[in-house]
Symmetry: C2
Subunit: 359 residues, 2 copies
DNA sequence: CTGAAAGCGCTTACAG
DNA sequence: CTGAAAGCGCTTACAG
């Protein structure tokens, strides 16, 4: 039943050589340290018949590398509510695929960690993952205040942050250049002829950096075209005491009327579309709509909603490459990579020909 | 920068004792092997000032246990489409929470593995996770034909399967008793007075076991109440050449009319509700609807949809407990645990008072 | 080309 | 109560 697992020693005995030799041929060190073809054969043969699988713990301990990389993000909400993190989940598959494709090609294995929320019990010591099992970590952290990541970085583990870096500490990171991307988007709308572009901001309690950057991009595009920004067109959605409907109504009643609308949060896009149409405004004839952030339901609305999509597959791949380089020590300073948005052209706004193709 | 990590040896030197002693007090072996309070203090003190963290690789190698358990399921689709696995994703958070709550209480760490699809390249050797890093594995596998799990079980690693066991090999498993649960549900409908209960089956290419069991449960409930089953009321949804609409139409036009409808697949529930209402049938006045499987959108439909919910939080917890017992060798034979469904009562069907409360 | 040996950082009987 | 020592299963200079 629980028969002892075959070790290097077993293989060595079977092949009539030393474990040093077995280790060498099984690890392809045979390039730097030459080995006779015949012994190589014997070793492979022995390993095969004995179903040898190296013990990764021992290997990791001796070689100081596990060939495993980690990826951490919150998969569960503090209240165990299934829908809490759905926004994250929706694109998680793409992100993981992007990462794993790269890792697999490099012989790396991916372990995923659920970063626990401690909101329920802030006094509890933060659960930590054992960093010994991994050579590096990709860290996805929507909450910039979460303290654990900084510890990980300081511990000297190669890390790549997905998103804006909220820390003092320099660290590799991959994210979109929200300023530039929004500027491009708004510029394209202006090139198409729009002069009155409403912008429904996704401001919750505190404005996160990326939203501020987008807002600046919105303004920069106007400045580029020498159009004065009407700040009344930038409406904060979901302010404490202002319901969404009021924000939308205010935006729609502003004169001269807006001809284009940017919706900054995917979750409210369908609702907003409904409110617009209830107000007797035709989309896209009277008003073109672009959502900043894509959702699988946007192709099913009436009309379907055009959206800026974050290319999670590519983001994941870039992060994985960056991490692998960091693990190999091939990159010294903290680098940050910017992945452009993609435009999902649907019925609510045709814009492709006005967008500059990325260089 | 890359300063050497502090090891047991460092702590021992600092505390003026041997590494044996340090190991003992830090691992609370002090119950079986007594240690003076004063040396205990010195050791703790030294460990604290040196920020000692045990190397888990070394510990794992020496102790033959890593205090880490794994959980594996497909998070990515073969085509990297974000929406492919959304059904899984939707409840993943609950499942993970259930597992992790239990693990955490036992000092176990959870590593999550994305089981890769090999549909894209079936010739590629299956990517395998290194079993050396984990003491046990919870395996979630929607595809009963996937061969890898059997290897894992044979390798002697303690395993718990989430779902039906498709293998010959006996293995611990946690799932719902689909036969009994469906029987209870239909019995409740019958107790409420329904005699004509439509059942839209979720049959894709091949009928999976759980759907067959549910169908038997449906029939058993009728038998219990001495009602003849009208097999025309059991419609296969989404058969190759029969569109959903036709199945629904056929179901609704069957005489005498159905007064209750079971929808077997969450994905089509909203569509079916729409078709029913287009046909001029009022829900729930003319027709009560229950979906087998819950979805976060069901509370937003008009009327909101009642549903049987799989209790993923509890399923996860049961699986974790079972795995922990298996790791400890406290459970010998393959046990399978059945977790009951829960009823989410909403507007489309009031049924709570007719359901037997679980004993 | 191959082997003997030290070492990775721990745990755990076994002595004392 | 504490220590010396063997061992977990590997890797990797260092000899030969």
């Amino acid at each position: 039943m629980a028969r002892r697992r075959t070790t290097l020693k077993d293989v060595a005995r079977e092949a009539g050589v030393t474990i040093s030799t077995v280790s060498r041929v099984l690890n392809n060190k045979t390039l730097t340290v030459p080995v006779t073809d015949s012994t190589k054969e014997r070793v492979f043969e022995a390993a095969r018949t004995l179903h040898y699988m190296p013990n990764r713990l021992a290997r990791g301990l001796a070689a100081a590398t596990t060939q495993v990389a980690g990826m951490s993000f919150p998969m569960t909400s503090p209240l165990n509510r299934a829908d809490h993190r759905d926004v994250t989940f929706l694109n998680l598959g793409m992100l993981i695929s992007g990462v794993q494709n790269v890792f697999q090609a490099s012989g790396y294995e991916l372990h995923i960690f659920n970063r626990l929320e401690h909101d329920l019990n802030p006094d509890a010591p933060p659960r930590r993952m054992s960093l010994d099992f991994i050579d590096g970590l990709i860290y996805v952290e929507p909450n910039p205040k979460y303290p654990y990541f900084e510890e990980v970085v300081k511990a000297g583990l190669p890390c790549v942050l997905l998103g804006e870096n909220p820390m003092e500490h320099p660290v590799h990171s991959v994210c979109a250049d929200d300023f530039e991307e929004m500027r491009q988007l708004v510029s394209a709308l202006i090139r198409k002829g729009h002069r009155r572009i409403g912008y429904l901001l996704a401001l919750l309690n505190e404005p996160p950096m990326d939203v501020l950057k987008r807002m600046e991009g919105y303004c920069a595009a106007h400045r580029d075209a020498e159009i004065d920004v009407d700040y009344e067109l930038i409406r904060r959605e979901h302010v404490a005491d202002v319901p969404l409907r009021d924000s939308v109504t205010a935006l729609l009643s502003r004169e001269p009327s807006i001809t284009a609308l940017l919706i900054g949060r995917t979750e409210v896009a369908v609702d907003v579309l409904g409110m617009v149409q209830e107000a007797g405004i035709r989309v896209p004839e009277d008003l073109e709509i672009v959502v900043v952030g894509d959702d699988r339901f946007f192709s099913a609305t009436q009309p379907s909603l055009s959206a800026m999509r974050f290319d999670y597959l590519r983001i994941g791949a870039e992060a994985a490459h960056l991490l692998l380089n960091a693990v190999r020590g091939e990159v010294d300073e903290a680098t940050s990579i910017s992945v452009p948005w993609g435009f999902m052209e649907r019925e609510s706004c045709r814009l492709k020909e006005f967008l500059r193709t990325p260089s």
